[in-house]
Symmetry: C3
Subunit: 226 residues, 3 copies
């Protein structure tokens, strides 16, 4: 095990690989695994049975990421639940909350005070601003941008592959502008932009760009009056 | 470790914190973590890599629950899968089945013989009656009531926050009356009531109350003939 | 622990039960649990905190499977993520990739080079052909057939129980013919057939059979021009 401050509180059977750095007053639950090179700042809490700092893997049919050798950084004051998986090459900002069973891939940036819900999944190359809420079981696809104060309801689904694997295509997730809110179980198609403070109704299927301050609902989603 | 009956069968590297009580003929799989104060009754089975009896946590933007200091109680004959997370302050009734990867929050009451599917999530302050089925990946939001014999299909989504974090609002999940059935991937909005023995079609988006014995489908959901 | 080749690389606190067979150059991450009778072929990689080779369990209200005593077989070159659960009685083919948090039940056959996404769930008695992609959080219900080269988008939902537990009924999942593509968050009803190279739009609810080379979208799904 690497050097740890006296203020560290470790559960039982915790595995900490070489090259991990740990700040002051860090708490790590039972059976959690902290993989090589992970950087954990002050006052971070990690639950039990987590796997943190995973190196990307793939089979021959999957996209590989060239620069994933960077470390995972978990900034000060962030709380991570139980049974969570986090990849190398991402930065989790200060005072973020990550729920149980959540998974965050490589090359993701999450800014301060955002909340990632239970079993939510954030795919690679995605940026999440400050004070965002991504609720339970929501799926944020790769190559997505969430600006500040965005709300993603439970079970929201996104995609980034217009041709579903059939054509060479530059993958592009949605761009969701500041303060926009997406209702539960809505579906967003690849590459669309949701304008600032727009609202997407529960279960809507959004097939084109939505302007700022607009409210849409239905399949396909159409503008409605508030 | 606390005192355990001779009939207990423990896997390897199980962690049992102080103040846990364990009945007769309990089986706990490898690497599972039983946190402080959990009460496990007779003939309960828990799989591997579970985390059981979790104390609620939050960051400063999230709701905190004042009375979560009560214990988790798992009643006799209940079976819990692998990689499951269960919170303190909830009671799981007799002969309940909880699938792998499921998560159950604090202040939840689940009555006897109900089935919670694989990767299903039950949020806080929710009551689930007898003989209910909550299928795989379904999301039961906070402050929800399921009466007896309710069927929630796979991937059903619910919400309890009408203003998606924008306004102070008393959170309120759906009320689902006895014997109602919700089809797969349907979406339920906050505070609606689904009448007894009503049926909601797959993929429907339910935006208002549904009467007893009614069948609805579509987006938004409308009454149809059987 | 059973005999292992010298080429095996084991993480810390790995549990390997009796009757497990392990090929050459196998890698198993920290805290993973390999249950009785599992057969792991050459060059297989398994992440951390997995549970592999689970025997089916049920309460008195659930379907039991009579012939689940067969072993789990993981064929050569397959990669399995972290926090994954795999059941006994299934065969995972060569060079398959299984993402973190995924779960695969008993009596499932997955053929070579297919990809099962992060947190995807494959229920019992299901067959998945070669070169299929089942994306993140997709739900493949029991008794389903996916032919070769099928694409299942993220968060797709399927069901196999027409009467939602209300009647005795032979459970039947969808049949998805070769090369068909299902868009994200679409819902498929029990027993329908999706023709070869058909395309189902995101968020569609498919209530009847879809012919080969057909494109459908909407709720309920209707034919559209490309």
């Amino acid at each position: 095990m690497p050097h740890m401050p006296q203020s560290t509180r470790l559960g039982r059977h915790v595995v900490i690989e070489d090259g991990v750095s740990i700040g002051e007053h860090v708490v790590i639950g039972h059976h959690s695994v902290i993989l090589q090179g992970t950087q954990i700042r002050d006052h971070v809490t990690i639950g039990s049975n987590c796997v943190v700092g995973i190196q990307p893997a793939a089979n021959e049919r999957m996209r590989k990421d060239s620069d994933a050798e960077r470390n995972l950084v978990i900034e000060a004051g962030t709380k991570i639940g139980n049974l969570v998986s986090l990849y190398a090459g991402s930065t989790i900002g200060e005072t973020v909350f990550i729920g149980d069973h959540a998974s965050i891939r490589e090359n993701v940036q999450i800014e301060e005070a955002s909340v990632i819900g239970r079993a939510a999944i954030i795919e690679l190359n995605t940026t999440i601003g400050k004070n965002c809420t991504v609720q339970t079981q929501a799926y944020v696809t790769g190559d997505t941008t969430l600006e500040d104060n965005v709300f993603i309801g439970p079970c929201v689904s996104m995609s980034n592959d217009k041709y579903m694997g059939a054509q060479a295509y530059s993958l592009k997730g949605p761009i969701i502008k500041q303060g926009a809110k997406i209702g539960n179980n809505a579906s967003l198609l690849p590459g669309i932009t949701i304008g600032s403070h727009a609202i997407v109704g529960a279960g809507a299927v959004v097939t084109k760009d939505i302007g700022a301050n607009t409210i849409v609902a239905g399949v396909p989603a159409k503008k409605i009056d508030a």
